[in-house]
Subunit: 195 residues, 4 copies
DNA sequence: TAGTAACCGAGACGGTACGTCACGTCTTATC
DNA sequence: GATAAGACGTGACGTACCGTCTCGGTTACTA
């Protein structure tokens, strides 16, 4: 009689989608991307393997869907009142992503795209970064409005420098990110951007 | 009295080591790390699979040995007479590594270490970056001698910013690295380092 | 209303079970037990190796199933009207098994059970002989009914003597079993059993 | 200068022949014929694998040599003063061979000859039984001299019956050989041979 | 409320690659 | 001259997942 209260599955994906995504991300965190298997996901999710293959053609596609759904990589855009404060907050968020137990495997998986044409993870990474960059625009818009931003500054370059430094330190060098690293990074690049 | 007839293999690794390493790197470039199989390497190298397993316990160990031997990732430390020139040269080298056909798969494989303990590739990446940083020291020593370097500057941070920006742009965003990017990157971080 | 369409595989074993069993027994006959390989069976049966391992955990288990299914070792219990005639028929059947091209390898394989605990072939041999002995009982029941059997005679011993003589001659001495051997064997043991 | 005091190796076989044979027989007893490996023998004997292959071309040949040298299968020909007593002694010896911990694996290995042409173990079995039969002749010669033996009796058949019964009981049925079995066997076949 | 379409579980399968074991051969010292 | 040392090709082992297929049953929307 009553309309169904916001049916959780509006026709997209299997009924057990949530369980599948959960299992996917948990196993990814536990075993890394290479150790993630569809069979294990199916078993953990209490679902038949065919069900997964009915909906996603590959491990990468499944992971992509899981990441999109689960919003593990979402960000809150900071608004601290100053460009420097905002950038430090962003940096710390990137740092948390790259080092966090739940997310570090995810984030490394994104980077393992082989560079071969047609790699789904590479596409996901591209989309993720584009989306993220779009969301970060307000930070720079506000800074410009406050007159904090040099006219010729390149926000994308600033962000790449910031995120890249954290990435290299944590993911490639495999070193701990010391407290104060975010501030140091931001202060290193701000002269190029700030009035 | 007579010198030994210069045995080509001084006791380390199989006779066909060169062929194996060649095949490993070629297949890695062609198919990416996930598509790299020991069986294919063996076949390409004209060697039996067991011979490979006799010497390296895993795909990662084999790749590690291949990279160390093949010096694919070596750098020439530039000496252009100015810090800016040296850093631009380094940046362009990083950029070539990350985008070059022969090396981009290698370099991405390094980053796919799962972050799990005991990952051989992660160890390799760590070693590689440590070694590379050591080799780059003269650039900063010379800059300091020339009085180009601010006293409190952090060379490691500068290098992480530079390499990270290239990495994010090419490997994560999967965008082309435009001409002039190296110079832009260096100019963005130099105010933090240069007198 | 209609009977189900008589599915050929009532739930036990792979679809190609017959082909697998055929290949198993043929290769066993050709190459002996030691030369029998699962891979060759799979190839001959036009089946993937994994399919065989899905159903039988070892070569011995596979062979066991093949023997049970194929009824290679079955006997027709003779009824010639006299104990002597029946025993000669049984002896000749044993002789045929031990020397026949199709069966001699099978029968030797049964005997190669290592005597180690848990040997599957040893278990199969045990079962086979127990079953066979049970089936031979009517011969002695009829002989007793005819008054041909001494009260204290031990049928099992008689059968062991008979089968053993054939076995030693054919399988261990590797000599031909001459015509008349069956009669000679039976006549040698009958005084111990017959009135 | 002094003649070596009975050199243990008169030019035939490697220096460590004894150790090799020991290891061979011990491993055969422990693991059965199928589980016997040349590599394990070499290791146990403290000898290089190539040394074994220099002297014996195959596992079967090695085993053959070990059995011949080690006299595991030797018999003492009994002389109890009566045919029945001698035959019972022989039967008990066969029984000990087939069931003894040290020898049962050996004796089963002999029977696992595939019946294929060129099987070395089959040849060994043939030789062993021929030799053994020759050695047992005195028992029958003495019985004949005592007038115990029927003129037309076939000693070979008698022995095959006896040995076969023990073999079937112990090796094929995998049953224990009860005490008194030897006497029962002999009494079952003696009417056919004894006056 | 019945029909129907989408979805799902169960199970089997061919296939690729894994990493391991033992075989038997070979070459190059060494004793 | 016999051995030791050690690398090698070869073949088979048994396992893990891959991605696909068929079949029969179950939801759940819809007519």
């Amino acid at each position: 009689m009553s309309a169904p209260p916001q049916p959780p599955r509006p026709g997209k994906g299997p009924r057990a989608a949530e369980a599948i995504f959960d299992a996917t991300l948990r196993l990814l965190a536990e075993r890394g991307y290479a150790g993630l298997t569809v069979e294990a996901v199916a078993q953990e999710a209490g679902v038949n393997k065919t069900t997964i293959y009915r909906w996603w053609p590959s491990k990468a596609a499944l992971l992509r869907a899981a990441l999109l759904r689960a919003r593990v990589l979402d960000i809150d855009i900071p608004d601290t009142g100053s460009l420097r404060g905002d950038l430090i907050a962003l940096t710390e968020h990137v740092s948390a992503l790259v080092t966090g137990v739940r997310t570090r495997a995810v984030v490394r998986a994104l980077a393992s795209g082989s560079g071969l044409a047609g790699d789904e993870l590479a596409a996901l990474a591209r989309d993720f970064f584009a989306d993220r960059f779009a969301r970060e625009q307000p930070v720079f818009a506000r800074a410009a409005a406050r007159g904090e931003l040099l006219p010729g500054a390149d926000p994308k370059l600033l962000l790449d420098l910031i995120a890249g430094a954290v990435w290299v330190r944590a993911a490639l060098r495999n070193e701990a990110v010391p407290p104060g690293f975010a501030a140091a990074v931001v202060d290193a690049v701000l002269p190029a951007g700030r009035t």
